[in-house]
Symmetry: D2
Subunit: 350 residues, 4 copies
C-alpha cells in the first residue's frame, strides 16, 4: 500500500514514519512539511538516517492523489480541517491525528476549541480510532480520527467500569501525567530543557479540551451523561503517559470480580496487558515498562474505605497514544494483521 | 541552643544538619548513625565537606542529656517509638520526623501501621507540627511530630476548603507526585537509577498509610469525618512534591471569592505563597519553583462544569515536607524568628 | 536454533532475551538465574510480559546440553570462568558477555583484574567479538567474547586512525560518558536514584580495567604498542554511551581525506553510521539518536590549531555495547543474515 | 551599595538577583530587560516571588547613573560591547558576565569571535575575574570580566599544574560536560526538553571560542604558549559542570607530592575544596555535590602507565561558573567579606 504523511516533521509524524519504514506491507511515498520542504527527512529525524532517503515536500494534492492510497495527517489542531476534507473528497483514505474530526457534534468544537467547525457533515463520516471499542466501524471507514494520548489511555481504563455501570457517574477524576514529547515540537520558553526538566507542572487543570473526546466516548458507552473531571500534568520524562482514574464504586464489588470484568473486555486484545502482581516491582501500570511498544497497560486498586476504584493505565504517548494506534487503525482498515509493524516489545530500561 | 540529630545519615537527617549548620542560633553537638558511627559526617553527606568536622556517633542517652537541649529524631518509622519516649522522659525537647507520634489515637496505629503502639499516653503529648495550623500549641510543646511531606503539602491546600465548609466531604481525592528523595535512602532494586529513572509509578494507590494523618487533621478541622482518597506516585525528580487535590464544591462560589478565602487563611504566613498568574509560565504551583526553599506554593482552578475545585500545592519534600518544617517548629518552640535559618529562596533552574 | 541464556536477570541478560524473542530463527529454551529460579521471567523484566512464559531455572549443564545449541553467558566478571569452560567442553557454542575470556594474554588478567586466570589455554580459543574487525574469525568460532561497551564504542572510532597510522600513539585520550544501565543491576547507595540522578561522576579515571581490552585490540591493529588513556564518567541517562577520543594527527590531513579513510573502512557496515552534517542539529554522534538500535554512530572534528582529531562514537550500551553485538555475533556464527533480529531503528525522542 | 543588573531576564541575571536579594550589604535598584520591560521580575523568575517587587525596566543610563554604584551586565556576547563602555565612562563599576571584555588582546576577538573589537583600549582596563588568581587586581578594578563556566572551572584545576611546570604543554585536553542552563535561555529546537533530555551531545568539539580565554590565562601563568585542546559536551542535567583535564606529567611525581602542590595553591581559598577520599562515594569532584554553592571542587588521579594526570573540577555553572563568581568579585572590589551572600552549602540531593 502506498502511504503519505502530512505534517511529517513533528514527533508524531516522525514516529509514524519510523514505524511505516519497517512495516511489511506499505511504502512511504510522500512526506510533507512546509517548513522543511526540500530537506532530507533524516535531518529532522536523525534516528532514521540510513533507513530512508525521503525528502520533505510541500503539500501537493495531485501528487498525493497519484502516489498515495492512504494518508496520515499529523498537523496541529485547526490545520487539518481543510486537508482532511480535501483528501477525503479525493477518495483517499485518511487517518487524522489532530482533534479536528474527533468530536461528532459540531457544537462541541465551539465549547472545547472555541471555533465553528466549517465541515460539520464530515464529522459523521469520521470514526473514533480506538480499535478496542470501535473495531468494526474502523474496518469500513474512509476517515479515522485518532484520539489524543490522554483520551485513549484513560478511556481504555474506564471503559469496563462505565460499560458495566458500576461507578458513580458524577465523580470520575482523571489525573494524568505526561512526558514532554506529548506537547509536540513547540519551541517556547516553558518547554526548553532548563525550564521543563524537573517539573511536576499542572497545565489547564480545569476544562482541558481533550476532556471533550473522553466525555463523548464515555457518554456513548454509558448511554447517558457522565461527568469527566480531567487534569493533566507535565512530568520530567520524554515519552509516556499515566492516567490515574479515581472512581467511586456504586456496587459492593471485590477485587476478584473486578478483574473478571476487565478480563472479559480485554482478554483477546493484543495491545492491552492487565497488570497486577503481588510480588516483584511491577505491581501497577507504569509507562516505564511500555515505552517503545503499542501496549496500554491497565490495572487498578480498590480503596474499600472510600469505595474508590483507582483505575490505572499507562502507554507510550507516541505509540498507543498516537502513531502506534494510527498504524493499528491502518492495519484494520486494510485487512492486514492488526499487529503488523507495531509488535515491538517495550525497551527497558531506557 | 545545643542540638542533637538522631538518624543523621538519611536524607532528612542530612538536610536538618545542612540547615542547622547555617542557623544563627544553634550548635549541632551530636549526630548519630548506627551504621556510620566513627565516620566523618561529610563522607555520607559530601555537600557538607568544609562546613563541619562532625563525626557520627552511636546513640548514647547520657551524652545527649549532657550536650543537647533539643533533639531531632529522623529514624525510620517504628524505630522512633523508644527513642522519642526516652528523650522525652529525660526532659529533652524532641522534634520527631517519623510517623511514630503523629497520630493521636492509638487505634489508628493498628489500622494504618499494623502495630500496637507501646506508649499510647505519649501520643497526647505530641503536637502535630504544621505551624500554619497549630502554631500556639507548638510554642509550648516538648514533643512535636512533623508530618510527612504528602500530609503537610496536601493539608495546607485543603485546610481553607474544609475549614470553610465549602466542599463535599465524601469525595476528596488527593493525587500526589513525589521525587525519589522522599523514599529515603533505601537501597533496593526498585530505587536504583536504571529502574527508577523515567517512571511514573503508582505505589500503594489505596490505603497508603500517610492517609491516616491527613484524615486526622482534616477531621479535626472539619469537626466531623471527611473521606480522604489519597494515591501517591513516584516521578522522575529527586526533590519535590505536588499534591493535586480534586474536590467538589457544595456552594456556588467563584474564583475571586475562593481567593479571598485562601488569602484570609494564609496572608500572614511567611512560608506559603499563593500562586495564580494569568500570564507567564508560573500559573500553578510546581515544585520546580520551590526546590531549596521552605515554601509551600498553593493555588487552585475551578472546573465549573463539574463543580470541581482543583487545589494544587507544591513543596520541597525535604524542606517544608520534612527538615524545613522541623526547623520552623524548632524556631517557634524556642522563640526564635520563625524564619531563622530557613529563609532561602528557591534554587532555579536546577 | 535453540538458545540458553545464563545470568538472565541482569540488564544485559534481559536485553538479549528481548531481542531473541523477536528473532526469526531462534528459540529461547533456558534462562537461568540463581536468585530468581522458579520465578517468571517477566517478574524481573516486566517489559516482556505477554511475550513469553519462560521461568528462570538454576544452571543445569545436562539440561543445557539437551536443549541448547548456543548459550549466552551474561554473568558478572569472574563468574564466567568456570561456566564458559564447561559449556565449551560440552561442545556448546558460547557467546560470553563478561570480561573473563576477552584478553588473549593470561598476564593481562593479573594486571587489570588482579587474578590468575585458571584456564589460560582457553583464551586463545576465544574470538574478540567486534564483527567489523574480526568477522572472519567469528564465523568459525565456538567461543566469542563480546567486548564491553566502552571498548567496542571507542575501538570502532579509533580503528581507522590507528590502522592508517596517522595519529600519535603516545597520546590517545578516551573520555567516555555512560548511562546507569552500564553499571548493571548493582543495588548500592551510589546507584540509587537520589544519589545517581544529576551526576557527572568520574569513576576510576586512571587504570580502569576496560582499558586492557582497548589496548589489546589497538595494539594488534597498530602492530605495535599504543598508549590508551581512558577515563569513564557516569552521566544522568539510563541507556547510551559516548566516547570522545582525543587524538593528535601525525600527518597534515584535512577533513575530506579523513572522511575517505573512515568511509573506506566502514562503508559496507550495516551497523555503523558516519555522522557529520553542517546543518540541522545532528552534527556529531550522540547516543540520544541511537538508543534502541544496534548502531554505532561515528564522526569526528579536527582542531587544526592543536593538530587534534576528536573522534566521536555513540552507541546504545545494551545494544551495540552488549546484547546487540552478541546477537550480531550469533548471526555470523550461524550463517544467518547479520542483521536478523537487530535491525531496529533508534527510538526517538525517548 | 546600590546595584543594577542589565540583562536580568536570563538565567545568569536571575541568579545574580537571587543572590543579591539575600546579600547583607547591597540593594538592587534597577533590573533591565528589553523584552520584559514593565513586567514583574517574578513573572520570569518565579522563584523570587515574595522576595521582591522589582519590575523590569528598559536600559536608561541616566537612571542607572543616579541609582547604581555598581552594575552587573549579563547580556549575550556582542551586546555588552557598548553597554560596558558606556557604564565605565560614566564612572560606574562594572562586572561583566559576557565575553566582550575577557580577552586582553584585540586580535583574539577576530580569531575566536570573528569580529573586530570596537574598543580595544578598554580591554586593558578589564581584570579577568578569577579571585583565586587575580585577587589583588580585582580589589582595585573598575571593570571585572567574569570568565565563562568552562574557563573558570578548568583553569582552576590546571593552574597548579601549569604554574609548577610539571605537565607537557603541548597535550592538555580539557573535556567538559555541562548542564542545559549553561546554554542560556535560547529558545530553539535543540534545547527543547524532548530533544535535549537524554543527550550526551558534543558541540563544537574543535575551536570552541571559550578556548581563547583558557588559553590566555594559562599562557600567562606558564609565561609561554600552551596548547589547550578543549571539547565541550551537553549532558542531561540543568545545573553543573565537570571539566576532565587530561594532562601528561613531565616529571616523576607521586600522588602525595601532587596533593602538596594543590594544597599549597588553594589551602586558604574559601571556595575551593580539594576532593579525594579512598572510602565513601565522593572520591572525585562531581557537580552533583556542589549545586547551589559557590564551590569549585578539585581533585585528580594519576595514570602512571601513561604518565597522565587527570585533573577533575566541578562547579555549579550558574554560581562559581557565573553569578557566584560575580558576587565574589563584587565583594572583593567593595571590601566586603569575600563570602558575603555566597556562603551557601550545596543542596543535596537535588
Amino acid at each position: 500500500m502506498r502511504i503519505g504523511v502530512i505534517g511529517a516533521s513533528g514527533y508524531v509524524g516522525g514516529e509514524i514514519i519510523r514505524l511505516l519504514l519497517s512495516h511489511p506491507k506499505v511504502d512511504v511515498n510522500i512526506v510533507t512539511s512546509r517548513q522543511h520542504a526540500g530537506n532530507y527527512l533524516h535531518r529532522i529525524h536523525p534516528s532514521l538516517k540510513s533507513f530512508t532517503d525521503l525528502v520533505f515536500s510541500e503539500l501537493d494534492y495531485s501528487k498525493i492523489s497519484d502516489k498515495c492510497d492512504l494518508v496520515f495527517t499529523a498537523v496541529p489542531h485547526g490545520n487539518a480541517l481543510e486537508i482532511v476534507k480535501n483528501l477525503y473528497d479525493l477518495g483517499i483514505k485518511v487517518i487524522d491525528l489532530s482533534a479536528d474530526y474527533r468530536l461528532h457534534n459540531a457544537d462541541d468544537y465551539e465549547k472545547w476549541y472555541k471555533f465553528k467547525h466549517p465541515y460539520p457533515k464530515y464529522l459523521s463520516k469520521s470514526v473514533f480510532g480506538i480499535p478496542e471499542i470501535h473495531r468494526d466501524e474502523i474496518k469500513n471507514a474512509n476517515l479515522v480520527s485518532c484520539p489524543g494520548c490522554m483520551a485513549v489511555t484513560s478511556i481504555l481504563a474506564l471503559y469496563p467500569l462505565v460499560k458495566n455501570n458500576i461507578i458513580d457517574k458524577e465523580h470520575i477524576v482523571v489525573d494524568s501525567k505526561i512526558g514532554s514529547s506529548g506537547a509536540g515540537a513547540n519551541v517556547v520558553l516553558a518547554t526548553q530543557h532548563a525550564m521543563r526538566a524537573g517539573v511536576i507542572r499542572p497545565y489547564k487543570p480545569a476544562n482541558h479540551r481533550h476532556t471533550g473526546e473522553i466525555q463523548q466516548e464515555l457518554d456513548e458507552i454509558a448511554k447517558t451523561h457522565v461527568n469527566i473531571s480531567m487534569s493533566p500534568h507535565a512530568v520530567d520524562i520524554v515519552r509516556g503517559i499515566l492516567c490515574t482514574s479515581h472512581t467511586f464504586l456504586t456496587k459492593d464489588i471485590i477485587e476478584k470480580d473486578l478483574w473478571k470484568i476487565y478480563r472479559n473486555e480485554f482478554q483477546n486484545e493484543k495491545f492491552i496487558r492487565l497488570i497486577r502482581d503481588k510480588k516483584g516491582f511491577y505491581k501497577y501500570p507504569d509507562p516505564k515498562f511500555v515505552v517503545g511498544s503499542n501496549f496500554c497497560d491497565i490495572g487498578f486498586d480498590i480503596d474499600y474505605d472510600n469505595k474508590r476504584c483507582i483505575a490505572l493505565s499507562a502507554s507510550d504517548n507516541l505509540m498507543k497514544g498516537a502513531a502506534g494506534s494510527a498504524i493499528q487503525n491502518m492495519n484494520i482498515m486494510s485487512n492486514f494483521n492488526e499487529n503488523d509493524g507495531i509488535s515491538y516489545s517495550p525497551l527497558t530500561p531506557v
